[in-house]
């Protein structure tokens, strides 16, 4: 863990927001950073070059999905995930744990790992800390996540305690299993909604030592206030000189609230999945482009947005494309939503550099009160 993979550039004046840089052999990631999700070796509806143009610095690949289709061995044989999908910037891979629990069928968890059946064809798999790391290494990941259990909410304290302890032992095995330390390895703090178990988990991971620390098991059905409370409790426990990644969140508001509490990295399917369902993010909140009110609306999605889609297309056209299930609908909506998320992160970074994130956050909420 001696390599310097993270530099903290500056902190905000009045909040815990941080501005940093994660370094990888494939490039630097300016934080706070949002990572678009490229489930099956493609961020749905986006060319890799376009992702770069709109400011994506790193994308996320799903180990579970890639294991099932096309298989990590095939990806490795074809030169790794970067080459396979034509993306030469960093890739973070998750451990597969989350999808095993949310998608896999007939799963059986024990100390060894998790046995499950594919949700695609029922074929059987065993995912363990060792195999998860091996798969992520075969994919050629730049940031590898430890294999853990994402605990459902609500869960009993006994279950959370036992699961978190096991994820801790798995984290130890993950560190040992790693063959190549070119890639960074991040540990994942669990502990459910129990403050003391979060503390124990964080301390245990720090003792093992990782290149970065994630907070897992949030945005699993709990109220936003509880999620923020768990971040507020957990983020300050993590080493100041390591990147902090809050997994699987979220709305623009969620990101702002995580950043104000000291988080650096995020991923979520929300901008991409919502785009395909016609839900578009703007500086004044979400809009659903299928609504009849947009039939003749010549305005761009967000008059304050300077993305390609907002410069070139009207709400009326985007509604027409959505209503007719045109491929271009998903393409343009995804382009806009990711531009919004990535642009928001760029603005956030600038605000923290100016040590004015508190004001930025107030403005962010004020704009959302104005109906358009």
């Amino acid at each position: 863990m001696q390599k310097k993979n993270f530099v903290l550039l500056n902190r905000d004046d009045s909040t815990l927001a941080r501005r940093g840089v994660v370094s990888t052999p494939r490039g630097k990631i300016q934080t706070p950073a949002f990572m678009p999700v490229g489930t099956l070796g493609t961020v749905k509806g986006m060319l890799p070059e376009t992702l770069s143009e709109i400011g994506a610095q790193i994308i996320l690949g799903n180990t579970y999905h890639l294991l099932l289709r096309p298989g990590h061995e095939l990806v490795a044989k074809l030169g790794g995930l970067h080459r396979f999908m034509n993306w030469d910037k960093p890739i973070l891979t998750d451990s597969g744990g989350f999808q095993v629990f949310s998608l896999g069928a007939l799963r059986q968890i024990d100390e060894q790992g998790v046995a499950f059946q594919s949700h695609i064809d029922g074929s059987k798999y065993l995912l363990t800390p060792e195999s998860s790391i091996a798969i992520q290494e075969a994919l050629g990941s730049d940031i590898i996540m430890a294999f853990d259990e994402c605990i459902p909410h609500p869960s009993t304290r006994d279950y959370v305690a036992a699961s978190t302890a096991r994820s801790g032992r798995w984290a130890q095995r993950c560190k040992k299993a790693r063959k190549d330390d070119t890639a960074q390895l991040f540990g994942i703090v669990q502990g459910g909604m129990y403050h003391d178990l979060r503390t124990e988990s964080a301390e245990e991971l720090i003792a093992i030592g990782f290149d970065g620390y994630a907070i897992g098991g949030l945005s699993v059905g709990e109220e936003a206030e509880l999620m923020y409370e768990m971040m507020e409790h957990t983020l300050p426990l993590l080493p100041v000189d390591s990147p902090r990644y809050v997994m699987g969140i979220g709305t623009p508001e969620n990101l702002i609230e995580a950043i104000v509490r000291g988080a650096d990295m995020f991923d979520c399917v929300m901008p991409t999945r919502n785009a395909r369902n016609g839900v578009l993010f703007t500086s004044f909140g979400k809009i659903s482009i299928k609504q009849a009110r947009y039939i003749e609306d010549e305005r761009p999605i967000d008059p304050d947005c300077s993305c390609y889609v907002c410069r070139k297309y009207s709400r009326a056209y985007l509604r027409h494309l959505y209503q007719n299930n045109e491929i271009l609908s998903s393409m343009l909506n995804t382009h806009h939503n990711l531009s919004y998320y990535l642009g928001l992160m760029a603005e956030v970074r600038e605000a923290i550099e100016k040590r004015a994130f508190g004001v930025f956050r107030k403005d962010f909420y004020r704009k959302r009160e104005v109906k358009q």
Copy 2:
């Protein structure tokens, strides 16, 4: 018809192939030219800017589809089809006739026009020569097609004669109905598979006088040889100083055979529709990317192709995308297929400029004999 909308640059030495330029206020079209089809105000899966980059000079919009969704009045209100869809180069619109006959329900044809019900929601429409022209003008078309009946094959001589005569009268009404001669108006030769009726139709249209002449009613189920025979008969009947457009074809071979007989313009859904079904065009023929033989194939679709897709992606990756129904599959496959068609036209133009289209055509067929 006094404006000079077409310049014949040169002819081939040993064939009837022609090299020309169609001029419109929105730009020039170097011929022979292929027009990608943008049915509903989008060439499915393609950004307009990308279409330009790969050499599209003009696209086709479908009057029938745009009439039904979103409606020509809405498009006009929003500034016309070019602005609506962010395409500032020429657009040719068809008359709606073809789709009325292939998609419309409960259609009734008489001297006045065609009454039909929408295949989407059953709502009733009447399309006449006058309304077709008015719709195309409302869309802001650069090249307007006369309203005609696309005669099915086989049809009796009596039916073909009566229909062709009526389409002739409709062509006259179309010319009279045109309000604005900024847009060009093309007549459409019908006559089915009857040489003499084709001759009569061509002579009648020439007497009326159009900016260009199309051959309709081909590729309607007849054998390729018969289609070529009808082109061979009809193309020489058309004025040498006007563009000649063979509608709705076709395979790369069909285009080569039309060009060698003196045709200038083409449109077809084949490259775009086949792309979405995983069928890819190459210099050595078609391939179906879903085949298991491509699972580990690191080669590009066509090693002789220099398009973006062939420079960046393997057959293995494209198969993976197709198998998983990824949006990027349609995007990349369409990009490649249109690059192939548009690239083929560029090569054809160069060959005719060198007065060596005969040799080019032989090479074209020779490459297709080599299995890859």
